[in-house]
Amino acid sequence: MSDTLLWYTTRGAGAVSLVLLTAVIVLGILSALRVQAAGWPRFLTTGLHRNLALMTLVFLALHIVTAVVDPFTHLGWLTAVVPFSSSYRTFWLGLGTIAFELLLAIVVTSLARGYIGHAAWRLVHWLTYASWPIAVIHGIGTGTDTLSAWLLAITVTCVIAVVAAIGFRVTAGSRDPLKEPRTNFQAAAQRRETR
């Protein structure tokens, strides 16, 4: 395979991974919002969220493998594991490694959710809100043609989608109908210092 094909595949897979990750985040938020429609039960949103998350990992692997084996940038396997260990664009590439490892943690804990329990899973899942921005900045910083229109356009679209979804999630508040009454009751049923 010629070097440039590798290099273009890395860039293509990177962009696709970003789009997929964005879709995963939006679907995750829609799941939390318990979105439902005719012919679209809630488990469909969650199922798609899960399938696309695994798909993101596949294309991310493609992105990383083609980047590492590309002789033009001679990164070496360490780059993919240890952040900021590459000579080429150290900082920006380091961000990519971090985003990747955060995503790995999120996916592993999601697959092991039955064993680690809901609370632990939920804690790690919050890392998504760190992993995604880091991935976006990695994409912008590492992209040699950072100002190329197509990558910028994709990135901006993805940012808008996620920011909108987060905005909607925050304004909607908790979907657990018992959250507020439960908090009120617990305030009244708490231990007070006995005289």
Binding site: S31, R34, P41, R42, F43, T46, G47, R113, G114, G117, H118, R175, D176, P177, L178
Partner: protein
């Protein structure tokens, strides 16, 4: 195998009823009513999918003596 809901963890997502309509329906407030606790063998795979699908892991599949 027997289906059991942890009522305190359950927060009315409703996915279990969507995934296992044969055994679970929702009450007027969106919380699961288990029509029949013991799961016939042919429904065990789908029951496992409902257990894994519960967003807060409130549904459990126990051995019959559970």
């Amino acid at each position: 195998m027997r289906l059991a809901v942890d009522r305190i963890k359950c927060d009315g997502h409703g996915q279990c009823a969507e995934l296992l309509p044969e055994l679970i329906r929702l009450d007027d407030w969106g919380y699961p009513i288990i029509a029949r606790a013991d799961v016939p063998d042919h429904l065990v795979p789908m029951a496992q999918r409902a257990v894994a699908g519960c967003p807060v892991l409130a549904l459990a599949l126990q051995q019959r003596t559970g």
